[in-house]
Symmetry: C2
Subunit: 302 residues, 2 copies
């Protein structure tokens, strides 16, 4: 898993900072999470291969999380995209996008599917052989979901020494990775357990932006390897945080601690702060493994 | 009049180029013309005072001309704007913007007026004591208008030498500028013609993007001081130009020549060209006073 932060600031795009968007890479598959104005330029800056994005997850319909979506969809059109595109987001998103495409007299040459979300309970919204995505219902001023990305790892790891010892041809490697035993030319059966190791532990990433402090999410995100939790404000501005239904760095750290996650990434910083290191300092009084998001920054979740 | 090009490239925003948007300053008043994705960041880069924009003119509903509008309107909201904002654009624009504001649970703290355009004839859509704006019906794939900005100059210029000679107090200057005669303390009347010069010639700017070659616009833009005319392609790609209902540099220059404008600014360049000087070269075979737009470039139309 590799996470690239395209933008991690609240409110408006500026020359030096971008509102929220991220790309999560899992086993060569790219998931776009939120898509603020400027996302396509940020994708280009990060040299992300546009065409590999097939799933876009939109947390909520505030502009700093989705005003770049219509532009990205249009650009895919101009780039002559052919493969399907799936958009997951709150009810209403389909009408907003289609109305704009209609007004421009444009029709996508690819299939564009909308999966509109309404449930206030966590639900599985995407699943394939590599990853499962679940919603994390958040508490914000409008209907908002975070997303839990759970890597699937059913592939066993080859014991190269043993495989070479038995001179096993590589055409059998996939069979071994998926737990099959091996029958040698002399008829002898070698059990899979002798030829492979257990799969690596599968990773998980929980994305929570935007939300007020909400312990109800803990059972969903519990034990995640990485948690991105918004911290729009510091405790010194907790009155603003409460009024706008956002979180402080301390609150984000408290969620991280209580959910027993391994690492916390802070983001969605209000642009009122010149020194975002203060967010890390505040969070680390509660939760040590805290990192700061920044536009263009990559997190290799190995 | 001062024109600032915020973006002048066709199709999609890129790291090195922006789609269409311009700010025209006339006597301290700012008019925003088109508003592609990224316009608010370009406004910040050009250090334009956001709050001074009260009129926004949108030529048509292709994304590279208006996908930045919803973000700008939202940012005005966050910046606590109080003064009225007027948006002029094709029918449909109001519903697109209001639907998105509604979805985000946001309401502007300022008055937002939409002036939806449907007419296929040129019409006056804005007028105050400083400027008049007329539509220029263009020929593109969807309903599109250019805009003619006609400066009004009713103010006469003070003859400082004479004004000092008669020792006229500055409280009378405005009266003189608007043609009034002066009665001196001794009862003598000095005619205005002795105290002032004729007003400076008023300037005009014609904005024409996007359009195929269309001679019908000539009577509207005739004798303009500056004409911005799109030239998406060079003649070598005239087959693309025809198919997409755009113009070549040569066609733009032909319009400039036949309309007897003083200066031509080319823009809306396809990003397929690495050397935009070729546009100038092609145009200058027809019309000498040709300039190239470029992101961030300013034209002082004195």
């Amino acid at each position: 898993m590799k996470l690239t932060i395209l933008g991690c600031y609240a409110a408006t795009p500026r020359t030096i900072s971008n509102p929220t968007s991220q790309v999560l890479e899992i086993k060569n598959k790219l998931f776009l999470i939120d898509c603020a104005e400027g996302t396509q330029v940020q994708l280009r800056k990060s040299k992300v291969k546009f065409s590999k994005i097939s799933q876009i997850f939109i947390s909520h319909l505030h502009g700093d999380h989705f005003y770049g979506l219509i532009g990205l969809i249009s650009t895919f059109m101009l780039l002559n995209r052919k493969n399907d595109l799936h958009v997951y987001g709150p009810k209403g998103i389909k009408e907003i996008i289609l109305m704009q495409l209609k007004a421009s007299g444009s029709y996508t040459g690819y299939n564009l599917y909308f999966h509109e979300l309404e449930s206030k309970e966590s639900e599985i919204i995407f699943e394939d052989d590599r990853v499962m995505v679940k919603t994390i219902p958040l508490s914000h001023r409008i209907y908002t979901n975070g997303f839990l990305f759970q890597e699937k790892n059913s592939e066993r790891k080859l014991n190269i020494e043993k495989v070479e010892q038995y001179n096993i041809d590589k055409v059998y490697f996939n069979k071994l990775k998926y737990g099959g035993d091996m029958t040698l030319d002399n008829g002898k059966i070698i059990p899979n357990s002798e030829l492979t190791f257990d799969p690596q532990a599968s990773k998980s990433y929980a994305y929570c932006s935007d939300t007020m402090y909400n312990e109800a999410i803990i059972p969903i995100i519990e034990n995640s390897d990485y948690l991105y939790h918004e911290s729009t404000f510091l405790e010194s501005e907790s009155h603003l945080s409460e009024r706008t239904m956002h979180s402080t760095a301390k609150q984000a750290a408290t969620i991280a601690k209580n959910a027993n996650v391994k690492n916390l990434i802070l983001g969605h910083f209000s642009t009122r702060y010149n020194n975002i290191d203060l967010f890390k300092q505040e969070a680390q009084t509660i939760f040590e493994n805290t990192f700061l998001a920044d536009d263009g920054k990559e997190f290799n979740m190995i």
